[in-house]
């Protein structure tokens, strides 16, 4: 009950024990507290005072504590006190307190957004940097692991003549690449049309692609493109990025999303940025030129696939290549313009025929392999 407009009946605790005193609180420049039986009044600075219970002008009760007097509390049950207090100390209002409280959170959010924005805007790739630090053996083992997941029960196409022809082509392109990279190329028995670069300079071409191609030059172009990805360590960067994204997701979703288990899946879904594709194309053109292979068939191959992509013969999703290697007019043009040097076929006709038949006799496998099983990152509770 208020004595006058600035003095209110209250209960005060001294912060030493759980006892409490009847007291009078006077609102002025300071909160002046006069507890019954205590001779010296206690003064609280309004700016060092905190509301312990959310405070609105209409609050029927007010509970306060002071930063200068730890443990001390004032409890006032008077409908007029809240409004009178807020006039002296407006910063105690629930709204403004809340705003002050969340500012660090908003600052962190803004900082994260800024860093993410800068990385995207400046086209920085922290993942590529980390990838460049990985030793060759680690990259090879990582690639083998991915390949193992990739080929679960699917198998390679390993007709000896076809394989030998592929090795000859690989050697030719490898020496034309002018790098130390030790590329290995394998054909997997899937019907979809695609090719992948894996960590550790390992390249996988699908049966679907071999059968769709009309010449060894086309296959050579695709392999040279994947070698470009390998030289630039794009698969390794993708793997590092996947781990980084998993960690970030774990951070954001406070550990509830099982992201670690999806790592394997993410690695399979490596998709490169436009600039990465351009880099791989530049390498491909350089390698093809060095090997005196015409890039024209590659451009034609892409055009043909693009056309069939618009009107698929069997309505299937066999042209998967385009989800990761989107066809672009620039790309075809680039290939066409580069065809200004003398060239010879990438493979002998006998070799090409052998490669074409590398999967012959093996039953076709329609679908991609099953997703790797997921492991929980942390124990279930």
């Amino acid at each position: 009950m208020s004595m006058d407009t600035t003095t209110f009946a209250a209960r005060w605790s001294d912060g030493q024990t759980a006892g409490s005193y009847r007291a009078l609180v006077r609102l002025g420049h300071a909160l002046e507290i006069a507890p019954e039986g205590v001779t010296e009044p206690v003064r609280w600075s309004p700016h060092r005072t905190m509301a312990s219970v959310p405070l609105w002008p209409s609050s029927a009760e007010v509970l306060l504590r002071s930063l200068d007097h730890p443990g001390q509390t004032i409890y006032v049950e008077d409908p007029g006190f809240a409004a009178a207090l807020l006039k002296v100390a407006p910063h105690l209002a629930a709204g403004s307190k809340r705003w002050r409280d969340i500012r660090p959170g908003l600052t962190v959010t803004a900082a994260v957004a800024l860093v993410t924005g800068a990385v995207l805007a400046l086209d920085l790739s922290p993942a590529a940097y980390v990838a460049s630090l990985l030793p060759k053996d680690i990259r090879t083992i990582a690639g083998q692991q991915v390949l193992q997941v990739f080929t679960q029960g699917q198998g390679y196409c390993e007709a000896p003549e076809g394989n030998a022809a592929l090795q000859t082509l690989t050697q030719k392109l490898k020496s034309a690449s002018n790098t130390d990279a030790e590329f290995t190329v394998a054909v997997v028995n899937w019907e979809l049309v695609n090719a992948f670069a894996l960590p550790g300079e390992q390249i996988v071409v699908t049966r679907g692609l071999i059968e769709k191609a009309q010449s060894g030059d086309e296959v050579a172009g695709v392999v040279a493109h994947e070698m470009g990805h390998g030289i630039e360590l794009h698969p390794e960067a993708g793997m590092v990025r996947a781990i980084g994204i998993a960690a970030a997701a774990e951070l954001v979703f406070t550990g509830s999303s099982g992201t670690v288990g999806t790592l394997g899946t993410q690695m399979l879904e490596l998709s490169y940025s436009r600039s990465a594709e351009r880099e791989a194309d530049e390498h491909a053109l350089r390698i093809l030129k060095e090997a005196r292979i015409s890039p024209k068939p590659l451009a034609e191959f892409f055009d043909r696939l693009a056309k069939e992509f618009d009107e698929p013969e069997d309505g299937s999703d066999a042209y998967e290549l385009f989800s990761t290697h989107p066809p672009s007019p620039e790309r075809s043009k680039l290939a066409a313009e580069a065809a200004t040097y003398d060239s010879e076929p990438a493979m002998t006709s006998a070799d090409w025929a052998a490669l074409k038949a590398v999967c012959a006799g093996q039953p076709t496998v329609e679908d991609a392999p099953p997703e790797p099983s997921q492991q929980p990152p942390l124990p279930p509770t």
């Binding site: 209960r11 605790s13 001294d14 912060g15 030493q16 024990t17 759980a18 006892g19 409490s20 312990s52 219970v53 959310p54 009760e61 509970l63 504590r65 730890p70 443990g71 001390q72 509390t73 409890y75 049950e77 809340r98 409280d101 969340i102 660090p104 959170g105 908003l106 962190v108 959010t109 994260v112 030793p135 053996d137 680690i138 083992i141 990582a142 692991q145 781990i243 998993a246 960690a247 774990e250 951070l251 954001v252 979703f253 406070t254 550990g255 509830s256 670690v260 790592l263 492991q375 990152p377 942390l378 124990p379 509770t381």
Partner: protein, 407 residues
């Protein structure tokens, strides 16, 4: 009733496991004369008044990619704590969003990142260092040992979350504390978890009693200790009932299934007698509804017996917690009211996609506060402020493991 010669304190402080339990404590120094003030806990306000806060928290959490959730949780606790009154004065939650956030960030770097690296990198590195045969074996051993270490941490996370919350809970400016070893608790939590698995769950009452005893005896309000004197034995009769309930549910499901598909069974018997291959008729909707109904009935039976055990445990834990040798208060949780509270809370949280979880949290606490009766009085001035250091970071480990000492 006021007991002469003994002072008594009762406070509502949250504790571990599935829900909050009130407890009484014991003064370290018993004053010679009782000047007991009667104690009454009560609940002020409606849990539904937190619905708006729940919505705001969800929106801000999404907008800030999850970062706001720490501040949102803090605000919800501040509001919920203030709904609990002792002798009319509110409890106060003094934790901050920043503490929760920093606690989580630290745990992210010392636990979550090593976990991700252990799962994703160790197999490669082991193969790289030790070759293709020994490498995967050593890698698997490392990963499994790491998992054991992580499981060991779960109990410590529960304990530390409890400690964080008690040090951030105040009444009349006096804060709570938990003064024991979180490693000891983590170890008890871990080995009894494993042992319980090998005894087909029969250690459950013994285990909860052990863990509850350690946590309660480590709890303080100010400098005043709590004491738990319960034993596991009295928890076993209701626990045996849970198993009997399971048997009853099994009979209901098997019998019900036979009843629902009676004509089908008859047809196949006839078909077997006539030697013709049975022609299965398409499933009728009545049969589908019947099967669901049978499983729902079985599930309900298990839930009722489970809730009975749960309610008995809560009451027993509360009634056997002492303060200066006096048992002066009583919890009256009942199976049906508890079941209704848990089911309705579950539906609230799930159907609102988590938006109403502050409402559910408040209802859970209100359930206990409103069923608690306190007899006797407390010499409040004899309860001195805690001198235990409060610690600077919040429950990050519990957040990372998604275990909660509170709700």
């Amino acid at each position: 009733m006021i007991y002469a010669g003994v002072d008594r304190q009762r406070t509502h402080l949250v504790r571990g496991g599935f829900m909050s339990v009130p407890a009484i404590g014991e003064t370290t120094i018993a004053p010679p004369v009782a000047t007991g003030e009667p104690v009454r806990v009560s609940w002020e306000g409606s849990p539904w008044s937190l619905a708006g806060l729940g919505l705001l928290n969800t929106v801000l959490t999404i907008l800030t990619l999850g970062i706001y959730s720490f501040w949102g949780r803090t605000e919800a606790r501040r509001r919920i704590w203030s709904m609990i009154r002792m002798n009319g004065e509110p409890f106060v939650y003094t934790g901050t969003g920043l503490e929760l956030f920093l606690g989580y960030i630290i745990v992210f770097f010392i636990i979550t990142v090593p976990t991700i690296l252990t799962f994703s990198v160790v197999p490669y590195v082991a193969t790289y260092l030790l070759g293709p045969i020994a490498g995967p074996i050593v890698g698997a051993i490392v990963v499994v040992s790491y998992m054991v270490f992580i499981y060991l941490l779960i109990g410590t996370a529960v304990y530390r979350a409890m400690r964080y919350r008690l040090t951030r809970t105040q009444w009349r400016g006096i804060r709570g504390a938990v003064v024991g070893s979180h490693w000891l608790y983590g170890w008890h939590y871990f080995w009894t978890f494993i042992a319980n698995y090998f005894t087909a769950g029969w250690m459950t009452p013994w285990r909860s009693n052990l863990l509850h005893r350690q946590l309660t005896n480590d709890m303080r309000f100010g400098e005043t200790a709590f004491k738990y004197k319960g034993k596991a034995g009295p928890l076993y009769p209701p626990f045996v009932l849970v198993w009997i309930g399971g048997l009853i549910a099994f009979v209901i499901v098997i019998g019900g299934m036979a009843l629902v598909s009676w004509t089908r069974i008859q047809e196949s018997v006839e078909a077997a007698e006539t030697g013709q291959p049975p022609v299965p008729a398409p499933l009728q909707w009545t049969e589908i509804a019947g099967i669901y109904g049978v499983f729902a009935m079985g599930g309900l039976v298990v839930l009722i017996f489970g809730a009975h055990y749960f309610a008995r445990t809560l009451n027993y834990f509360t009634n056997n917690t002492t303060f200066a040798g006096v048992t002066g208060f009583k919890l009256r949780a009942s199976a049906l009211s508890l079941l209704w509270m848990q089911i309705s809370n579950f539906l609230l949280a799930v159907l609102s996609l988590g938006i109403l979880s502050p409402v559910a949290q408040a209802r859970r606490l209100r359930y206990v506060v409103e069923r608690l009766e306190i007899l006797g009085g407390v010499d409040f001035p004899a309860i001195r402020q805690s001198t235990v250091a409060a610690g600077k970071r919040g429950e990050g480990l519990a957040t990372a493991f998604d275990v909660d000492a509170f709700s």
